[in-house]
Symmetry: C2
Subunit: 213 residues, 2 copies
DNA sequence: TAGATTGTTAATCGATTAACAATC
DNA sequence: TAGATTGTTAATCGATTAACAATC
């Protein structure tokens, strides 16, 4: 496994999700073609990706779901729970704090942080703590992953502080590129941009349909 | 302009954001190199992308920001406000309903919909309406864009209904591939997947650092 | 066995980057 | 003018797909 770039790893996780669904539907074996259909890629792509991750099946017999999932979980890391913090408890941060979808992925939100003292709730199951305690918390609890949901103007500064304290991976909701060392992993979710591109292509489709008339 | 795929259009929007920031900083002219640095691509890429969108500058003189933004806004469509609905007012849906970042992009959330009648708030500035009124609302208000934030199990069915009523572009938060005709634009935001890939690469980096010791 | 599917190599495709003539 | 930057073409790079030998 040489490179394992982001797009490849993302596909692997999608395959795994799809294969879990098939398992829950009662299937025992799958072919590359089945997985491809479920995820929306070619079967060549599935076999190629599997090959890069040393995931093998049986010539003629496809893949045994349980074996496949076991091997995927070893490569992709499922069996351990990951502690994650949320920095910035505005609308987005709070929604993510309550989001149900993380648990089944082994992702546990352990705390939120906000600069607004009135939001602090120390006794909640997932507490919101004052921003001043952020660095100390990261260090003592050895937190590696954080969600960044602060206003655009604060984002770069807060990222730097998180990294300084020991964070190595960040999911950033501020709609801008943040600079960071290359040993820090940053994924960006830019909600305005997602909608803008949808609006663009819907406009293009409508334009085309208009021209066809 | 032949193809204009998603990745290209996304970059164009990023360039525009960056150029607006430069304008607000007081700059009047920019070079492709400046834009490239701000967005994190090569200057060749910027000039190539501009060329595909018929955005031209002055040989030797770079690009005049105001002219550039004017032309970009013509191509990318800024000057019109887009009405968007949110279907599913759980944690995520509600956060997006209140999210401040859309307004400056000309995106206006006009209503939310939820199957839970107790969430209905007809008199709010952005009302939440009962799910039964969804199709009628889309048709009478000619809504083209929707945010889909319902539980995974309902997502495909609700998408079909939205498209049936006239929706042409959807931002989907359900963590699965939804099937749709090719004249409908669907962008997916998969929050669990984003975190999973971050966790994967952080693990890889730590593994590498361990091996180096 | 005959037929079907994997695993991998080679071919293709598309996107990015480099290079440089045009030119301000 | 000399120098610098655009705009575009050609080269490179990487990712996807097609093809098919291996084999169950």
């Amino acid at each position: 496994m040489k490179k394992a770039n982001k797009i490849l790893v993302t596909r692997l996780y999608r395959y795994r999700d799809a294969i879990y669904r098939m398992k829950y539907m009662g299937l025992v074996k799958v072919f590359s073609e089945n997985i491809a259909d479920a995820v929306g890629v070619t079967s060549s792509q599935v076999r190629k990706d599997f090959s890069l991750f040393k995931l093998s099946g049986n010539k003629r017999g496809g893949y045994v779901i349980d074996d496949l999932l076991k091997k995927m979980n070893e490569s992709l890391g499922k069996n351990r729970t990951q502690d994650v913090i949320i920095v910035g408890c505005g609308h987005i941060g709070t929604a993510l704090k309550l989001y149900k979808g993380f648990e089944k992925k082994g992702i546990r939100i352990v705390a939120g942080f906000d600069i607004d003292e009135s939001k602090v709730t120390r006794d909640a199951k997932v507490p919101i703590l004052p921003f001043q305690e952020l660095s100390q918390f990261i260090k003592t609890k050895k937190i590696k992953i954080g969600i960044l949901a602060v206003p655009e103007t604060a984002a770069q500064q807060v990222l730097d502080q998180m990294v300084q304290a020991g964070i190595e991976g960040i999911l950033n909701f501020a709609p801008m590129r943040l600079s960071h060392q290359e040993n820090v992993v940053v994924n960006n979710v830019n909600l305005g941009l997602e909608l803008e591109t949808i609006i663009y292509f819907v406009g293009e489709i409508e334009k085309k349909q208009y021209e066809e008339k």
